[in-house]
């Protein structure tokens, strides 16, 4: 009942935003608002199926959540993916169909396309995994405005990859509007995703 009421509220909220022809106030977001919004970067990496993926063109018109991470990550990456996945599964399919989640590996040596695909499928088979060589991935990170990731061998022999912990949200009008740091909770995503879908910067 509560979920249905929340769904009705979301629809009403979207309808109201559309009627008023006005984007949600930046202050309404729970993530860190990018003001002024930044254009979506244009880089090309490869999907886990080996197909070229021109990021800007493939995600045009969708609310796109971009994250740079790696599958051996013990904390930040699986938590971000799990929380986004949990919220998308609870959203109405008519809304979640307009969201694309793109995960770019920062550890292409260990994250084979097969491993990346299987890891993402554990959260949601629709999540898009991208890979490439370290130069191309570094270029994508720079284009997205996040620090370039660093591989580091730890004293115990394991490898850690330092990478940006933020999820970047691009609204359907191809603009970066909000960033979500580590610590973003499911209720924050549930609050912001419908607003981001409605926000095309009109």
């Amino acid at each position: 009942m509560i979920r249905r009421a929340r769904g009705v509220a979301v629809v009403l909220g979207l309808a109201t935003a559309a009627c008023l022809d006005r984007a949600p106030s930046p202050a309404a977001y729970r993530g860190a608002v990018i003001d002024p919004p930044v254009p979506k970067p244009d880089f090309t990496l490869y999907t886990t199926a080996g197909r070229p993926f021109p990021f800007r063109r493939e995600t045009d018109g969708f609310l796109t959540l971009l994250f740079f991470g790696y599958t051996h990550c013990p904390d930040v990456c699986p938590l971000h993916m799990a929380n986004i996945s949990a919220v998308l599964h609870k959203m109405q399919p008519s809304l979640s169909a307009h969201v694309k989640v793109v995960f770019v590996t920062t550890d292409p040596e260990r994250d084979s396309p097969g491993r990346l695909r299987a890891w993402l499928a554990g959260f949601d088979p629709a999540f898009i995994g991208l890979t490439g060589d370290t130069v191309a991935i570094g270029g994508a990170e720079r284009a997205a405005g996040v620090p370039v990731s660093l591989r580091q061998r730890l004293p115990d022999g394991s490898v850690a990859v330092g990478h940006a912990a933020t999820v970047i949200a691009y609204t359907p009008d191809n603009r970066e509007r909000v960033q979500y740091p580590f610590g973003t909770r499911q209720e924050d995503w549930a609050h912001d995703l419908p607003l981001l879908l409605a926000d095309s910067g009109r």
């Binding site: 509560i2 979920r3 929340r6 013990p74 904390d75 699986p78 938590l79 799990a82 929380n83 949990a86 919220v87 609870k90 554990g122 580590f182 610590g183 909770r185 499911q186 209720e187 549930a190």
Partner: protein
């Protein structure tokens, strides 16, 4: 080995490396010391009847406050945190009270101050209200998230559960004449099941994880935060029901026998 005095939430990935908590051992030793003092004051063989209950209480308090249960419950799995609550808030206090020898109750009741204090604490209204207030407060998300990030806060949560359990069980397990008549115990225990329904309902039916500390903790064995929270709700609901049902059955059959 990185030893701390009490368990606390950590953002480090879970490890099976042993980390003892000095506070847990200190409490176990203090309880055993208390028991030894009772034994010494009562004379040899005078206070042995309830020894097994008391030792079980000490073991259960220690197990719930030391690694690995305490570490998992402080910052990784809400289901283990709720299991800790069951042990510290319901099982251990009952065992502790069952482990108090009759001579100790008598000595406490000899002094007017001791009698007044115990009589006041053993009132069913005090027990139920005190227990419910502590149960609800220690499950308020913002407060729990804050308390679990420091050893002092985590210690306060665990000890308040123990105190709440003692308050709850006092009207049932205290020595005569403090305890309720047997037929009143049956009603009291049935009423004691109600407060658990409040946090259990929130845990079972919330759309999203309630506690930041458990939602953002590194995952263990692939258990996601929502599943963990639902397991916690089931543990709270059915675990407490099981414990109270056992006590209820004992009281009920005693009542039937006396009738």
């Amino acid at each position: 080995m990185n030893a701390t005095w009490w368990c606390v939430a950590s953002d480090a990935p879970w490890s099976w490396q042993w980390r003892p908590y000095a506070g847990a051992w200190a409490i176990a030793v203090a309880l055993l010391g208390l028991r030894a003092a009772w034994e010494w004051r009562s004379g040899p063989g005078q206070a042995r009847g309830a020894l097994a209950w008391f030792l079980l209480a000490v073991v259960s308090v220690w197990a719930a406050t030391d690694w690995p249960v305490a570490a998992l419950g402080a910052g990784y799995l809400l289901s283990i945190h709720t299991l800790q609550y069951l042990v510290l808030g319901l099982i251990a206090p009952a065992l502790l009270l069952l482990g108090v020898p009759g001579e100790v109750w008598n000595r406490c009741l000899v002094t007017s101050r001791g009698r007044a204090l115990l009589t006041g604490l053993a009132r069913p209204g005090v027990g139920l209200l005190g227990f419910t207030v502590i149960l609800v407060i220690t499950h308020v998300p913002a407060l729990l998230d804050w308390m679990m990030t420091s050893p002092g806060g985590s210690f306060a949560v665990d000890m308040s559960w123990l105190a709440a359990g003692l308050l709850l069980w006092l009207p049932v397990l205290a020595a005569s004449p403090l305890a309720l008549p047997v037929n009143a115990r049956v009603g009291y225990l049935a009423a004691a099941a109600v407060p658990h329904a409040i946090p259990a309902a929130f845990l079972l039916f919330s759309d999203y994880p309630l506690y930041r500390v458990f939602e953002l903790a590194p995952r263990i064995a692939g258990i996601d935060a929502a599943t963990d929270q639902q397991i916690a709700g089931a543990v709270m609901n059915f675990g407490s029901m099981l414990v109270l049902l056992a006590a209820f059955s004992v009281a009920f059959f005693r009542m039937a026998r006396e009738a």
